[in-house]
């Protein structure tokens, strides 16, 4: 991958390279957005490449060489369909993604914080964790992110260079949808109350919105003052309306990359909202974001006969 990126920069095929580099903490990676060739040495692929790099495309001018996992490539296709990015400006280096390790799950399994672990390695569908000397093994399905377990496109369809051989999708939506299933068992009043409890922790840091490639509005409705739809203060009512409308606005653009839930500092289960919307859009309109390059964006297109049973 490093030679490819270096070549791209040297032959002036791209102005920017966007990829992952080793993070400053254990088991983390950090987005690397660079122009100079020497940085391409720091590019890396490991089981902790969590960020959705497509998020940076709307902020960069010029031609970009971007490292892309499955979900990222779907976000890129969705951005292309929304005319936010042009395909000719992109050189996509496809990464057949084996799924990313969820450090929060490992912490719960091992009972230790992430910086107390010595090593985490992934071999096939086994994740082994070394903590004060001994090695503990876990099944991958217990250690990977929920959205990775439900991944429908581990290898990008839309790419220029592929790094490694293709990987077939094997979505286990049952495991990854536990939280949503539990919510659906509650009554509607209990569900609403649970969202009230979760949203009262929100501090309005807007990380969920800023980390999401589908959220590319110039000025978000939540920060408008004329009219002021929601108050800019962390009241649970306005926090909840912010999340409901954000989820509806990204319907048909969200590729369930799970970044909003991972990045939330106060652990609000946002994926229970976005994944449910992902399923609703799939169920009602058979629309899967970014899977089909030529599809029209969800909200732009319509069919003659489709869901209208509830219309009086």
């Amino acid at each position: 991958m490093r030679q490819e990126a270096k070549a791209l920069l040297e032959q002036k095929k791209v102005d920017w390279i966007v990829g992952f580099a080793l993070g400053s903490l254990k088991f983390t990676t950090t987005p690397l957005i660079t122009k100079d060739v020497t940085d391409t040495e720091r590019l890396v692929i490991n089981p902790f490449i969590t960020n959705n790099l497509a998020n940076f495309l709307t902020g960069i001018e010029g031609r970009v060489g971007i490292v892309a996992k499955g979900c990222e490539s779907r976000s890129i296709v969705s951005l292309i369909q929304d005319n936010k990015v042009t395909r000719e400006d992109l050189v996509i280096l496809a990464v057949p993604c084996p799924g990313i390790i969820d450090l929060a799950k490992i912490e719960r399994l091992v009972g230790k914080d992430r910086d107390e672990l010595e090593d985490i390695t992934r071999t096939g569908d086994k994740v082994s964790v070394k903590v004060n000397g001994q090695k503990k093994d876990f099944a991958a399905s217990d250690a990977l992110f929920d959205h990775c377990l439900a991944c429908e496109l581990p290898t990008p369809q839309e790419y220029d260079i592929i790094l490694g051989e293709e990987r077939k999708p094997s979505p286990e939506t049952k495991i990854s949808g536990q939280n949503i299933a539990k919510l659906k068992e509650l009554t509607s009043a209990e569900r609403w109350a649970s969202w009230e409890k979760e949203m009262s922790r929100c501090i309005r840091c807007y990380t969920c919105r800023n980390v999401c490639p589908a959220c590319f509005c110039q000025r978000c409705f939540v920060e408008e003052t004329e009219p002021q739809w929601t108050l800019p203060m962390p009241q649970w009512q306005d926090n909840l309306i912010f999340q409901i409308i954000r989820t509806i606005h990204v319907a048909g653009r969200c590729t369930d990359c799970g970044e909003c839930e991972r990045a939330c500092p106060v652990n609000i289960p946002l994926r229970s909202l976005t994944r449910e919307m992902y399923d609703i859009v799939d169920e009602l309109f058979k629309f899967k974001t970014g899977m089909d390059k030529d599809a029209l964006p969800l909200m732009v297109h319509y069919e003659q006969e489709e869901a209208e049973d509830f219309f009086k």
């Binding site: 569900r191 609403w192 739809w229 509806i248 009086k312």
Partner: protein
């Protein structure tokens, strides 16, 4: 706080000016009776109604929202009502998943000539809201104790 019996639901209606608004007008001119719970906002097209308007209405204390537009095919802007149909379809399903009672968001096709249908729709929706009861969704709960609904859900606030 009013008792449950004589409580009247507050319904907000977004009516597309080409069809449903004209239909409501027709209902009025032909002396048809329909419950006065509905407050009507004229919108250029049902496609103009963003889900944010629906949530803001519920946040301000309305008990229900009705979005009514032209029948598919005779929208003045050709595709407005199809877009509205998709948006309301996902919004309705999503609000149900969140825990908002389904009766609170209703949609209907009412053309300019269907004064009668409009009265039926409004009566039907109001009846639905009566069953569901007042909208307590956004009432502020301070450390468990429910605060008097007065200042929080204004549409229902009974100023002294």
């Amino acid at each position: 706080m009013t008792q449950e019996s004589d409580w009247e639901p507050k319904l907000l209606g977004f009516l597309c000016r080409w069809c449903s608004y004209a239909g409501a007008d027709l209902a009025g001119t032909s002396r048809k009776k329909y419950p006065a719970n509905i407050r009507i906002i004229k919108v250029p097209c049902s496609g103009r109604v963003d889900s944010l308007f629906i949530l803001k209405a519920l946040r301000l204390g309305f008990d229900g929202v009705l979005v009514s537009g032209c029948h598919p095919g005779d929208c003045h802007y050709q595709t407005g009502n199809y877009r509205a149909r998709r948006r309301i379809a996902i919004t309705k399903k999503f609000l149900e998943y969140l825990g908002i009672e389904p009766q609170r968001l209703q949609a209907s096709w009412v053309s300019a000539s269907e004064g009668g249908k409009f009265t039926e729709v409004v009566t039907d929706v109001t009846q639905g809201l009566k069953e569901v009861g007042p909208n307590r969704l956004f009432e502020r709960k301070k450390n468990g104790a429910k605060v008097e609904a007065g200042s929080e859900s204004p549409a229902r606030a009974k100023k002294g």
